[in-house]
């Protein structure tokens, strides 16, 4: 494959990085600093093309879509609040590849991969169930684990873990005992407990 783009002085030694750079240059590939795992980031509209490329490329053959899951980055430094993470597995390379798709915060929508990868069916429904992500083209996007009449999306970070916060000495006055917390800032206990209580 010849590419008219700028030629890198040192082509990546890794086959996945190399093939992605050659065949799908719009995917941003990064390697996790600590775990050395590869992750490719693409925009939602490019996802089906990337998935097909990963599957059909003779050198890669990432034919198994192992998992789909959502992530909420509320209050954390990240490129987008809502992200869908796909894990592909290649029986040829015996490797996994993470594909990260940042979504719009107001309307978190991504194209469904069910047509090409039937294994996406349940996990996409789970991401819809837990985060409210809409996968366009999914034949039956209903709640998977929760009852159909459930309100809200529990794995979002603004959804409280407990229905009410318990009053401790460090949180006197801040907590209305018995009041159900359904506010975006309803997780004041998260960082406090990690740093040993606080005031």
């Amino acid at each position: 494959m010849t590419d008219a783009g700028p030629v890198k002085a040192q082509p990546p030694a890794d086959v996945v990085e190399r093939r992605l750079a050659e065949g799908f240059p719009s995917a941003r590939v990064r390697r996790d600093f600590r775990t050395s795992e590869l992750a490719a980031t693409v925009q939602p509209d490019e996802l089906p093309a990337l998935a097909r490329f990963l599957r059909d490329d003779p050198e890669l053959q990432f034919a198994r879509l192992v998992d789909v899951c959502g992530v909420d980055n509320l209050g954390r430094k990240a490129e987008a609040r809502f992200v869908v993470v796909y894990h592909f597995h290649s029986l040829r390379l015996h490797r996994w590849l993470r594909v990260v798709v940042p979504l719009d915060e107001k309307e978190p929508t991504a194209p469904s991969l069910v047509g090409d990868f039937p294994s996406a069916d349940f996990p996409e429904r789970e991401a819809y169930d837990m985060y409210g992500f809409v996968f366009t083209g999914h034949p039956e996007l209903t709640r998977l684990l929760l009852p159909d009449d459930w309100e809200g999306y529990p794995l979002r970070k603004d959804y409280p873990f407990k229905a009410e916060e318990i009053e401790f000495s460090f949180s006197v006055g801040r907590v209305n005992a018995g009041k159900v917390l359904r506010r975006p800032d309803s997780r004041p206990w998260r960082d406090k407990s990690a740093s040993g209580g606080g005031r």
């Binding site: 069916d121 684990l145 873990f161």
Partner: protein, 411 residues
């Protein structure tokens, strides 16, 4: 109106095949489960039946949902270990293991060799435990009561080992990031040797009861056939995929915990039916015993927990003499250790297949996100494809052969 509602659970529109009900035939909608003895927990199947023949089958899950993934985010890594074994009650040590491996990868810490080898032994014993329960319940579903009793007799021996090791028969929480909770007990080797000595003859007994049994063969051969392509497309893994000709085992192809040091076979069949899954699992039990024996032979002495005091609790004897150790113990127990920011997808070969943990660490003592890739979820999803045209009675055999653990499916 209420009767027609379950039809919306059907997923046939995935491949565009119209329902036969639309063609004007008389079919019946029947709920199987969630309280049905052969659904192995709380699985509900919505069946469309034409007489005794299954026209469509769609699994409805979620009855055992307990919000594990939310809980992971709210507890420290140390406390999260206890959630992992509650997810799959037949594979507690394997679930502990995958979580420990994922956190260790983020922490970048080394585990002492004694702990690594002990993990292999315990993970394989847990596989035996899981396959025994599977075999017993599958046989029970198909009317072979005595096999169930024999399997549970052997399982007691394994649970006794788990109890002597961790103090708990099922919810072990024994394998932790950094190593093991405690050292192995003194009689561990004797007990495991006893299992290695007696077990092959027991497996022969099961085979004598079932493998050539005409009734068993009639009920299993050619039932619930899963093709290789379908297994790959639906993300099946573990014995379900290997019985359909997918020659893939994470222990062999992406070795963790030093599995590459042991000699064993990965049993693969190509038939893809219930009988093939039975044969694969029985062969896996024999191979697991081989691994246990080799690992036990080379079990080294030495520490069982990492020396990194940022993660490991101080030794018990230091608590009585050292104020610093006491403070350290208290801080680790209340606040937990901090895991540097990073992401990992780590998976192991559980008795059911590819069990993966996707963990995002944000530098605090709690995971930002912990997602479980449950093998039972994808293995179960394929059921609606492989029972079309089967009899209702065969459906019972197929559910059992997929070995779904609902705690893991629903999390």
């Amino acid at each position: 109106m209420a009767e027609s509602a379950p039809l919306t659970y059907s997923l046939e529109s995935v491949d565009g095949t119209p329902s036969s009900a639309a063609a004007g035939e008389q079919t019946m909608i029947l709920n199987m489960g969630p309280q049905h003895p052969s659904t192995h927990g709380v699985l509900r199947l919505v069946l469309e039946l034409d007489g005794e023949v299954v026209v469509r089958c769609s699994p409805v899950i979620g009855y055992l949902h307990t919000g594990f993934e939310k809980s992971y985010e709210e507890k420290t890594y140390h406390a999260d270990v206890t959630l992992t074994d509650r997810m799959d009650y037949l594979n507690p040590l394997g679930n502990n293991l995958v979580f420990a491996l994922a956190v260790e990868k983020l922490l970048q810490i080394e585990v002492p060799p004694r702990a690594t080898v002990a993990r292999v032994i315990l993970a394989e014993l847990t596989r035996l435990n899981s396959h025994l329960v599977w075999l017993g319940t599958q046989a029970l579903d198909l009317g072979a009561m005595s096999t169930f009793l024999y399997c549970f007799r052997e399982r007691e021996k394994l649970l006794d080992i788990f109890e002597s090791v961790s103090g708990q028969r099922m919810m072990t929480s024994y394998i932790r990031p950094g190593g093991l909770k405690l050292d192995l007990p003194d009689d561990f080797e004797t007990r495991v040797r006893e299992v290695i000595r007696t077990f092959p003859a027991r497996i022969d007994d099961y085979e004598a009861l079932l493998t050539e049994n005409e009734l068993w063969r009639e009920r299993c051969i050619g039932v619930g056939t899963l093709s290789r392509d379908l297994a790959l497309a639906y993300g099946c893994s573990g014995p379900v995929a290997r019985a359909s000709g997918v020659d893939w085992d994470i222990r062999r192809d992406n070795p963790y915990c030093g599995y590459e040091r042991y000699a064993y076979q990965v049993p693969v069949r190509t038939e893809g039916d219930v009988y093939a899954r039975y044969l694969v699992r029985l062969a896996e039990m024999r191979e697991s015993l081989k691994i246990v024996e080799q690992a036990l032979d080379e079990l080294p002495g030495g520490p069982w927990m990492t020396s990194d005091r940022k993660v490991a609790f101080p030794p018990r004897e230091e608590l009585a003499t050292s104020m610093e150790a006491l403070i350290h113990h208290f801080k680790l127990a209340t606040e937990g250790y901090r895991v540097p920011a990073g992401e990992t997808y780590t998976c192991v070969e559980s008795p059911r297949g590819e069990l993966g943990f996707y963990i995002i660490a944000d530098g605090s003592a709690k995971p930002w996100r912990a997602h479980v890739r449950a093998p039972s979820l994808s293995n179960l999803r394929v059921i609606s494809k492989i029972v079309e045209g089967a009899l209702v009675a065969d459906l019972v055999a197929v559910i059992g052969s997929l070995d779904p653990i609902m705690g893991e499916v629903d999390r």
